[in-house]
Symmetry: C2
Subunit: 332 residues, 2 copies
């Protein structure tokens, strides 16, 4: 048996969560519902304008890995923080959840800081993310431990991590090491504008390496440059062995082996949508590694997503195992 169920690679950061109204977004030029990259100056400017905030560890793939660790999965995470206070918070929260996290810290004299994401939550529960990547942009192939990748049943790659000078090589190294040892590759498209930035690279990776694709409606439409969801889904299903595509309150579609199932979403009051896709992916992958069928994995994903959008922050607070049992998704 390999050491890890899932090893994730992504942008390591701490979320700075604050409430605001739609007028604040408009006044400050923040595009609603997506992730936008900011430089340091813009991040500082925006921080000065937002109300009181809370800091909770984030990072898309890190949220997924934390979710799998929470469920009892054997996980590791690769992503760069600095030797600073926010870096210590990020590392603590991941390790305290039971994930292995050994990526070398950027040194204290590095000109950038640990990445952070200003997450603005509007009254409708939608989140608009403003990311200063900081040192996490500089994850390099040297940060990829090939022996660790070889010990992963799955590696989970975050689309956001395609931003950054050495990211493609780092991913290539991870994929080669994992696949060379019989591991499988999951990719999340992360965000429609991330797809816009990296469509060709995503397509090449999907065609050559990806065994499981996570996406949502907007992302898969962007990937295949179409307005028709069924067309996009069909093309994704033709390109990848398994596709898990979320569709907000319409639940999730899972395509595999020429078949297709639909998992219904949970009914929930949306407090903060941050992390919904991340926890969906975490629960889905955990279910797969435990031998559950795709529909059950999809339902687990929807239950986990519902938990995380019911409160502020992108890490699970309630006991997901208990929720899965309550929903009849686990053998009794």
């Amino acid at each position: 048996m390999k050491t890890y169920d899932v090893v994730g690679i992504g942008n390591a950061m701490v979320d700075v969560l604050a409430h605001c109204d739609d007028a604040f977004l408009a006044r400050n030029g923040v595009d609603k519902g997506i992730m936008q990259l900011t430089d340091r100056a813009r991040g500082v400017e925006l921080y000065d304008r937002i109300g009181p905030a809370q800091e909770i560890s984030g990072g898309s793939a890190a949220n997924t890995i934390a979710g799998i660790a929470h469920l009892g999965g054997r996980t590791a995470y690769v992503g760069k923080v600095k030797d600073d206070q926010l870096g210590a918070i990020f590392a603590h929260d991941l390790r305290a959840q039971g994930a292995s996290y050994q990526t070398a810290l950027a040194p204290a004299d590095h000109p950038d800081e640990t990445g952070r994401c200003i997450v603005l939550v509007t009254p409708d529960g939608e989140r608009s993310m403003n990311t200063y990547l900081g040192v996490t942009e500089h994850l390099s192939p040297a940060d990829i431990d090939e022996a660790q990748m070889a010990q992963a049943e799955w590696i989970y790659l975050e689309g956001y991590r395609f931003d950054g000078p050495e990211s493609h090589e780092a991913f290539a190294r991870a994929i080669a090491a994992a696949k060379g040892a019989g591991g499988r590759v999951a990719l999340t498209l992360s965000d429609p504008f991330c797809v816009e930035r990296h469509r060709d690279a995503f397509r090449r990776m999907i065609a050559d390496h990806v065994d499981l694709l996570f996406c949502n409606r907007a992302e898969v439409l962007s990937m295949y440059r179409t307005d028709d969801f069924e067309t996009a889904l069909g093309r994704a299903g033709g390109d990848v062995a398994m596709v898990a595509c979320t569709d907000s309150e319409n639940g999730a579609h899972v395509l595999f082996d020429g078949g297709r199932v639909h998992a219904a979403a949970e009914t929930v009051r949306v407090v903060d949508a941050t992390g919904a896709g991340d926890l969906f992916a975490g629960a889905f992958l955990w279910g797969l590694t435990r031998g559950h069928d795709p529909l059950t994995c999809g339902r687990m994903g929807c239950v986990a997503a519902a938990e995380v959008i019911g409160h502020l922050g992108a890490r699970a607070e309630a006991d997901l195992n208990a929720l899965f049992h309550a929903k009849g998704l686990m053998p009794s």
Copy 2:
């Protein structure tokens, strides 16, 4: 009219909030329900052992000042943080709430860091606090701006701030400047063990300077070394012009001008008791500065305390003004 309704002086820090069970407290030698000071090494040791956490700005008097600012009061805060990431978070959250905060930062090369408090929340909602004071211990008389104190209707002194080498002189300077300009002095006893450490100094300050004393049952019993609550309350009422003493689910007693009123507590599910006393004091003081009678002030304090114990963290999340209106505490 003076510039400030209330200027608070206290220990500036960021709370690190995590859930645990009673067995964890016992296993790690954490005394339940109180504040205990830790050195840096103990703080690090404890942090390594706790689960995933959330960071929310705290500091007792800072929570009080943030509450008054939230209500629309004119406030300033004095307390020391460092020029580091946690210091920036603390300063942001206070200013974003509308409080003035101008205390000089401890420089980046200071050997200590911004203070933090590991707040362990048990399933009963009780919080057990483990405080690394860091640079906030070094607030000195030079940090007290006498002109600012002279512009305060009230200064609000945090009992916890009696810990630290130059704290007594700093308080003396603040009191002299405020009283010399006709201002009044409020003191909170903070914690029964804080009273134990500083009983004589508290008594001297109360006898000589304090116009309004905030305390809870355990603190006032400790102050007057008695097991009898009525005896302790009576003595406090004899020593200070006004006493506001909280008593958990029994609400609050307010003694003034030889009279006494009782404000009933709100019924609330306790999620996290952190900040209940701080927000009680903030709402009470705000009510006084707006000319409300002591019973109304006490009720406002109870409503604000109920808001803050209904969620994680010691800063108000709901609109306190709206809650006061809904409870019939504000002129319509």
